[in-house]
Symmetry: D2
Subunit: 106 residues, 4 copies
């Protein structure tokens, strides 16, 4: 009945998004459906502009997922490390800043 | 000598990407696989930053698909309309410009 | 009194934005003012988040200028080359597609 | 024992970028020069594509400034608040997350 806590290699017990895991899975399932919809549009030789509109919608949905995960990562993993005066806090922040840069540039 | 064409409902004969349809389908299948990979990462509570890296990769792959489709649309649909002195050319260009704006802002 | 037409090296007489040149200059002047405002905010050690908000506003204003210039370039330079059955049309489109890709990725 | 601080109006002592203020000012001055260069290009009716290339360069330079400011804000303002167990930490993080979202979408 116990829910065993599996501690990860870097010492972070649980990712910050765990409480909203089902919500993220639902959103990714919807994105998967949209991607399959685009495949169908290409198979059926749909007009290019309509495909481009769909691809922009998927990109926006993925961006929203990233921004949500990032916010929870910052508040659960990074702030918690800082609150615990863990020496990891700076390294985790540096890692998060690089993820933000990839996000901004993609 | 005749080049038979099947004219579509809006008067555009064939979408510009038709010749590379299989290539686009392959790329979208790979993107679908990457999206499912992200779902698996979330189910298995993978470290947030690793998920963000994957989401950025999918976004970049989708962007590349969009840029390819757009380029072919401009060269096949828009330029062809201009070459044929079709009155559609300006309307098609306006529509393409709006798709570019959505792409830049997404 | 004549306004001499100076034909450019690649044979494009006038850039497509010429009729709205004053509008673009006005917008760039405003952007220049916003950039100087950001410098002032940094000198006065304004709160970071407020500076970030201003930088995002400038980025959006520059994007709008780019999208406008691109639209006029496509409609005046690229479509006109296609209408004139110029062999340049494809090269010009290829060049425009690369500019779009840079815009999407920046 | 005392750590003297000059506390700002919203309770943030000093913006995180203060130590690198001169570096940011230099970068913004260079961006201002690039913006003026674009104005000159428009006055002189430079070829559109060359202007677009310059605008993309400015956008990238502004993005790099934003990413730098954001990283320093997170590490100095947000982490410090968390380390001091300040109740502000969550509010500051929320504010930073919104700035990240604006940055990603611009």
């Amino acid at each position: 009945m116990d829910q065993p806590v599996s501690e990860g290699p870097e010492g972070h017990v649980h990712p910050g998004y765990m409480q909203r895991k089902d919500d993220y899975l639902r959103r990714m399932k919807r994105i998967e459906g949209q991607v399959r919809g685009i495949e169908r549009m290409i198979s059926e030789e749909t007009y290019c502009i309509d495909i481009l509109t769909q691809v922009s919608a998927v990109t926006k949905a993925l961006q929203a997922v990233s921004l949500g995960l990032l916010d929870e990562h910052l508040s659960h993993c990074v702030l918690d490390a800082a609150r615990a005066d863990s020496p990891d806090a700076d390294a985790k922040l540096h890692e998060a800043s690089q993820a933000i840069a990839r996000l901004v540039r993609s």
